[in-house]
Subunit: 300 residues, 2 copies
Amino acid sequence: MQDRVAPSALKPALRDFSADHRLLSINTATVRRQGDLATIIEACARAQIRAISPWRDQVAHIGLPRAVEAVKATGLALSGYCRGGMFPADPARLPEVRDDNRRAVDEAEALGASCLVLVVGGLPQYARPGSAPSKDIGAARAMVEDGIGTLLEYARSAHMPLAIEPLHPMYAADRACVNTMGQALDICDRLDPERSGMLGVALDVFHVWWDPDLSAQIVRAGRDRLLAYHVCDWLVPMADMLNDRGMMGDGVIDLKAIRAQVEAQGYQGFAEVEIFSEHWWAKPMEEVLGTCISRHRSVV
Amino acid sequence: MQDRVAPSALKPALRDFSADHRLLSINTATVRRQGDLATIIEACARAQIRAISPWRDQVAHIGLPRAVEAVKATGLALSGYCRGGMFPADPARLPEVRDDNRRAVDEAEALGASCLVLVVGGLPQYARPGSAPSKDIGAARAMVEDGIGTLLEYARSAHMPLAIEPLHPMYAADRACVNTMGQALDICDRLDPERSGMLGVALDVFHVWWDPDLSAQIVRAGRDRLLAYHVCDWLVPMADMLNDRGMMGDGVIDLKAIRAQVEAQGYQGFAEVEIFSEHWWAKPMEEVLGTCISRHRSVV
């Protein structure tokens, strides 16, 4: 049997991206300044891109029926739908939070997304503006877990997996108080101990590349909890904490090393490019998509 | 015996800062634009501030002998000396790294500092510019641990405790690849398993406030490894990743909650104000120091 041990069993798996871009997905925020969702979908189809991950505001802008129609017409897959979440809020606003997130599940289902990505929110005054200010991040985290638990029941009935996206700790106050893979997986363990496949994580290298515990947590997640894989790069220096993410290869993240670990768990999904960048938003859509394709083949 | 249980045994300890500012220390970077170290020391003495933590470049600017003399003349304590570190480097440059850090220990000793704060460095091209570029943060972390281990022998002979300062993950690439209390304490456990008091951590709330594991790691550190406690605040929004730290009370950090946990471990040292801020650097030194004093008494 010795001679049947494949090389892939001796080192982390890594799918070959060099020949084509079948496994590339474009998060549509990457080119949100260059056109509306219909225009982005057409441009992606022209570039033979096979998957996208759209944002709710982009869908709302052209209307859900038209978005569904455009996705169907082009045959694009959806590697995710962005985004549900923003759970921490004043008690009086929890019904609003619940309904808003249920609509996100419904939209994801209508669009045929593979999962709904959750950006969970930070302190309540930022997650749901108008909520009473708080400095209690522990309380915000408890509200997040309650919110996900509540949404999960609804998501199960819609067969729509929820992907918790841990955000970089620099966004802990205002965007997401789930800041590490370990923290996200703790929530998964508590809310979905049976590992049903309906709750997992979206791993974005920008948010987690620094974590000394990353490798161990990727193994812990395993294939059934790795629901999405997002790439961009971390620039040094970074001009802006929100809108200066780098194109893959332009920063310091060891992209292939992380992807190898994710794929060693059996991840077979897309590598989704999500870049918030004033630099790239200022360029023509075709140039940005072309660069995503070439970097996908060379450095992702 | 029941009636001998003090209230402090039933809740986290918290020293009363409201009556005076005996436990305030000023990290001299907080007012580095407003004057040289001699001027800062005079201003602190006038404001009846009892401790400072100076930076090497500020000491070098006026010369070590003059700095030592000014500290002695005013009777100021040093809650730390900033900073040693920046360990990752090309192999050929390791003697330079070693010698540079030994000089930092010598200076800290001459000044009578309570500890040398270590900002450990990120990837080698940023820690020691000119070193070969690398994306291998794991290798950088190994170099950091080697560097601290080497320096620790020298520091022991000089009786100068080394305080590893975990820096916020947003500085992992370019400033410090030790980014959590847990990671710093892992290094302490490996290099100083006997808990000699010669190796510990500097806890700066700006860097660690977001960490879901913070409370557990403060307990793990214990009194003998909590060598310094730094305060400022986390502003939302933050205009600049490096130089927009907030004055205590102006941001989202629950300062008293963190200090209570630190003091529950028996920490008896200063609360050191370290604020890198274009906003505060533009104000007169007396105004900044006065604000530090009032906020120390009210919100720290």
